[in-house]
């Protein structure tokens, strides 16, 4: 059965995370728990490799750690919001939220790619970022993303 790319269970708020390593680990953990990937370590490795190429910090409090990876079975969007802002890298703005794109290496359905690319396009708009950062509940954030992406 085809899995949804974005579920309310993929939103995690008020996380007690102290640094980048913990957050990347949390992303891989949740991807594994959510049945999105076969292997947590491989996802974590992929996320780290992408970060090593260039930061995914967008400024404005948001980063977008992402990976395309053999261990991933279902394309998914995850959202993590932290209790307190952390440094993503030195000399960058602190981040309070991660929007993580987790993608299989191959055979991605076109409809899913469209969702991801339209989400990416929205991320340049401050108003959208602000609503994500200030959303009061999982429900509110879920609805916002659903409406925005017309899922």
């Amino acid at each position: 059965m085809k899995q949804e790319i974005f579920k309310i269970e993929n939103i995690h708020l008020d996380l007690d995370i102290k640094n980048k390593a913990q957050l990347l680990n949390k992303i891989a953990e949740k991807a594994f728990e959510g049945g999105v990937c076969r292997n947590k370590e491989q996802v974590l490795k992929g996320l780290n490799e992408r970060e090593a190429m260039a930061t995914t910090n967008l400024g404005k409090g948001i980063c977008i750690p992402h990976t395309k990876n053999d261990a991933i079975e279902n394309p998914s969007i995850f959202i993590f919001r932290l209790k307190e802002s952390i440094f993503w890298n030195e000399e960058e703005e602190k981040i309070n939220m991660a929007i993580s794109l987790i993608m299989p290496k191959q055979n991605i359905e076109n409809i899913h790619i469209k969702v991801l690319t339209s989400l990416s396009r929205k991320l340049i708009y401050d108003s959208f970022i602000k609503e994500l950062l200030e959303g009061k509940s999982r429900d509110e954030i879920y609805r916002l993303i659903h409406q925005t992406l017309q899922l």
Binding site: K68, M103, I113, K114, L116, T117, S120, R121, I124
Partner: protein
């Protein structure tokens, strides 16, 4: 109408390609250009620039972090290369600087 074209491509083809494309599209339109932005990402080549597009353009921008396909289309053209991050954050300023550089 004066025309601006751009090509965006990032390593994973998921995020920065499309953020930069959106930012440059908006900035180009705001500056009064007919704007066309090609993306080479996870969904392949979209909105492909033709030779005609490129020949007609006053401003040509590349925001790429990989070697894109079809680079020969730009042979002999004055191409402004910008960082993806820069395109995402400062689309308007990039166009302004290019205009100044071109004496527009």
């Amino acid at each position: 109408m004066k025309k601006m074209v751009a090509l965006c491509a990032c390593p994973m083809g998921l995020a920065h390609t499309f953020m930069a494309a959106e930012a440059l599209e908006q900035a180009g339109k705001q500056a009064g250009y007919e704007t066309k932005v090609e993306t080479q990402g996870a969904d392949g080549i979209q909105n492909e620039l033709t030779l005609e597009d490129i020949n007609e353009a006053t401003i040509i921008i590349h925001a790429v972090a990989i070697t894109p396909e079809g680079m020969e289309r730009f042979n002999g053209k004055e191409v402004y290369e910008v960082e993806l991050q820069e395109a995402i954050k400062n689309g308007n300023r990039i166009i302004k600087e290019i205009e100044e550089d071109l004496g527009l």
